[in-house]
């Protein structure tokens, strides 16, 4: 098991470097000039200096190497300094946003809590709804509950978040006026009233994201339960005279959860992708909105860094899913 984990960890490094190179080349080889928006009145020698200041004069591989060092070496040092009040990163070049002239990571750290709150909460809510639905639909296969559940998950699968989000805004904010349509990130929770407001403004974005999670996971939970319900060990458990609850909740559920847990881990990166759209709909100023703004403003360092952070998330959670699978199910350990 240890060798397997180590091998997977080592394999993740070239994967990440390849993705970093892909993103870097895509952004830098594209026929696109970050200086295109600069006014014509600026003299050419000043323009040349600006170009150098942006690091555009050097050959591609040097630019790439610098970016990799900044991302993997300097930025972690900054983080370390922040945690322990040391000064390793002093005087070192960080990744700067062209748009705001401040380090990209500082903005990311400001934006990340909003995204994590909304995305994390919706994922937890989605899982909590999905698991019971999946379990019960499988237990009562072809019942009315199962048919309705299948239909609802199909709808949740098919309705894109940019429509369900706008739809709930129309319904609950515009028509009924129950919930605020814009997520206010400056809002601080100090007492019961502000907590209630925070709760109310989180309902819609969380529900919209949770709908998709629920659709995928409950479907998966159902088929995983169905695979196990007809197995011999279930018949044995029943024959031993165990109560139905023990059979389903202890024996079947524990075995069915193995693939579901990995699917839950694998789904975390994709929900960040979905958050890009949901944040745009509800005007949450999270990391997804920062990415969209950077794309509109042609701010390549920010786009590069955030896109790469999404890639890191995907690779890390793939790794976690693989390792979890090995830990939970000893039959498929790879060593």
């Amino acid at each position: 098991m240890i060798t397997y984990i180590v091998r997977r960890l080592l394999l993740a490094i070239p994967t990440l470097l390849f993705i970093a190179a892909c993103i870097f080349l895509l952004l830098n080889l594209a026929p696109n000039d970050p200086m295109a928006q600069v006014p014509m009145t600026i003299p050419p020698d000043v323009k040349e200096k600006m170009r150098e200041a942006l690091g555009l004069g050097q050959p591609l591989h040097v630019q790439f190497l610098k970016w990799v060092i900044q991302f993997f070496w300097v930025e972690p040092q900054v983080f370390f300094d922040y945690l322990f009040n040391t000064s390793f990163s002093e005087g070192k070049q960080r990744i700067f946003s062209w748009q705001t002239r401040s380090p990209v990571m500082d903005i990311v750290v400001q934006r990340l809590p909003q995204t994590l709150w909304v995305v994390g909460m919706s994922y937890i809510v989605g899982i909590l709804i999905a698991l019971p639905i999946g379990i019960y639909s499988a237990y009562r296969q072809y019942s009315v509950f199962d048919q309705v559940g299948t239909f609802v998950t199909m709808v949740g699968y098919s309705v894109p978040p940019f429509f369900s989000g706008v739809f709930v805004i129309v319904l609950f904010s515009v028509q009924l006026g129950w919930l605020p349509s814009v997520y206010d990130t400056l809002h601080e929770v100090v007492d019961w009233e502000t907590f209630k407001y925070q709760f109310r403004q989180m309902i819609m974005p969380v529900m919209v994201l949770a709908l998709q999670t629920t659709a995928q996971i409950s479907r998966f939970m159902r088929s995983s339960m169905l695979d196990n319900l007809n197995q011999d060990y279930v018949r044995t458990a029943r024959a031993k005279g165990l109560s139905e609850w023990t059979v389903v909740a202890i024996h079947v559920l524990r075995n069915s959860m193995i693939p579901v847990v990995t699917v839950i881990a694998l789904g975390i990166p994709s929900i960040f992708g979905g958050a890009i759209i949901t944040e745009q709909v509800f005007k949450v100023n999270g990391i997804g909105q920062q990415l969209i703004n950077a794309i509109y403003a042609n701010d390549l360092p920010t786009v590069q860094t955030i896109t790469f952070m999404f890639a890191v998330l995907i690779v890390v959670f793939n790794l976690i899913a693989d390792i979890l699978y090995g830990i939970l199910d000893p039959r498929i350990r790879y060593d």
Binding site: V166, F167, V170
Partner: protein
């Protein structure tokens, strides 16, 4: 006479597609999905020929109207008929969906068959597929839209250039699941006796692939095709919704939804129609794919 009937019944060729159709017919959701999808396609293809209003016909005197007999879905802020725009938008969205699906299917099948059939290339191609699967697709699609919009628009015209860009970028970011499934099936079929027989009579690799392998992996390809259309339609709408898709005066469902969001306070009903069109199309395709998977694979029937 009786003998004759029995004889012919015994010798009746067991047509696989007839079996599939019989199974498919019994799946009510899938049948409904297929009918609705075909109706939507007919509506958006033939509708603009019958409907008297142009999608871009501006008539400022009748702007912002509610539903009426002349304009069943009302008009927008420039007096354009919403139904005509939904039909025109559907043409674009479904064309993008079909074309992008074909491209991704072609890439996926090519890589899957090559990886499954030629052992030397297998690990390289599968590593490549894994790498593509760990790319953050939506951010990358947005970046591609940003970077290649201008050059393609200048060389092919704004609409055609954008069409090529969207189709190609969706195609090259969605072939991976198809490749994986096709590879798995090819690996299994390659070991069967009829492939050995074909090889022993001197069949070349190309001939074996086209005559024996491809027809046998058709079912997973068809299922990925349906899911591919749904995925491509949603992705295109998402890009248009974020304002990075087709130019503003060119209607697609995502674009119409995006335009309607600006008038959310005054005319909330306007977001409903394009959103419903996207959701209904994708829902019907998903049901179609679900039924097709059940019908094509007897092992998972009833799941």
């Amino acid at each position: 006479m009786t003998d004759n009937v029995q004889f012919s019944a015994l010798n009746k060729p067991n047509n696989k597609w007839l079996d599939v159709w019989n199974e498919f017919k019994n799946h009510k959701g899938a049948l409904a999905g297929a009918i609705i999808f075909v109706l939507i396609v007919i509506l958006v293809l033939l509708g603009p020929f019958v409907w008297p209003y142009e999608a871009n016909g501006i008539n400022i005197r009748i702007r912002n109207q509610g539903p009426s007999l002349a304009h069943p879905l009302g008009t927008d802020q420039l007096g354009r008929d919403t139904l005509a725009r939904i039909m025109a938008g559907g043409r674009t969205s479904i064309t993008v969906g079909l074309t992008a699906m074909l491209l991704s299917l072609f890439l996926g099948t090519l890589i899957g068959v090559v990886a499954g059939y030629f052992k030397k290339l297998d690990s390289v191609l599968m590593r490549f597929t894994d790498l593509f699967l760990s790319l953050p697709l939506l951010p990358l699609l947005l970046v591609m839209m940003l970077l290649f919009r201008e050059p393609l628009s200048t060389s092919f015209g704004p609409e055609k250039g954008m069409f090529i860009l969207i189709v190609v970028s969706i195609g090259i970011t969605s072939w991976m699941p198809t490749a994986r499934i096709v590879r798995g099936d090819v690996l299994a079929i390659k070991e069967r006796e009829f492939i050995l027989a074909a090889r022993s009579i001197g069949g070349t690799d190309t001939k074996i692939i086209f005559r024996h392998i491809l027809p046998n992996v058709l079912s997973p390809i068809m299922v990925s095709a349906t899911l591919g259309i749904a995925n491509a339609i949603i992705t295109e709408s998402a890009l248009s919704f974020l304002g990075l898709g087709f130019p503003p005066d060119f209607p697609t469902w995502g674009r119409l939804l995006n335009d309607a969001v600006d008038y959310l306070q005054q005319f909330p009903e306007r977001v409903f129609w394009p959103g419903l069109a996207i959701s209904l199309t994708v829902l019907s395709i998903n049901y179609l794919g679900d039924g097709l998977r059940d019908a094509l694979d007897p092992r998972i029937r009833g799941r």
